[in-house]
Subunit: 122 residues, 2 copies
Amino acid sequence: MSTTTNSITTVVGDYLAAWNARDAETRRALVQRAFSDDATYVDPHRAGAGHDALDAMIATAQEGLPGHHVEPNDDVDAHNDRVRFSWTLVGPDGAIAVGRDFAIVGSDGRLRDVTGFVDPVA
Amino acid sequence: MSTTTNSITTVVGDYLAAWNARDAETRRALVQRAFSDDATYVDPHRAGAGHDALDAMIATAQEGLPGHHVEPNDDVDAHNDRVRFSWTLVGPDGAIAVGRDFAIVGSDGRLRDVTGFVDPVA
């Protein structure tokens, strides 16, 4: 695994950890580590731009899904300044959806433009 | 299916048809229909920006894969200004790879920023 791949794997790990972090300070720190300052996010249900909005967006999503968390699927695949990876949304009764995220990576190595798609559990 | 979905499905169809079009005039017309004027494309093996470069990039890819074509997998999934879809690369002996493309759609409805990823055949 190249240094670049290690680095983007760490950033994706911070990103997914942010979605799981229900402590405000921890979540905010992870948002800052995962997203470029001017980063944008969009999926079918929500959107945000900049750390403040992204942090608030994730907090709102967490409030709507008590008892849920995301699990990385360990399939980070990067080339050039692009990356894709997936994760599983797990609720109290088990896996309920698979998220497939695509991102453009900023020159600072953090995620600059993230798009989320959702698939049913296989 | 919404008008928007119909429209992006047509654009994706033109895009995949461009990869199959080995007649220069036909390919160029499809490139113009599929890509915004300032569009960019990047995958692990090639990149291009603007119609001239994208047309030349596709022609070079075709020359490297004689007897191959791509088949749409009819799974266009769009939200906001984002779209994903996949296709199968078929050679003389059958399917050899699955491409998964992600794109940002321009305000003109054509593809503005396309990223290609490749998976093994399932």
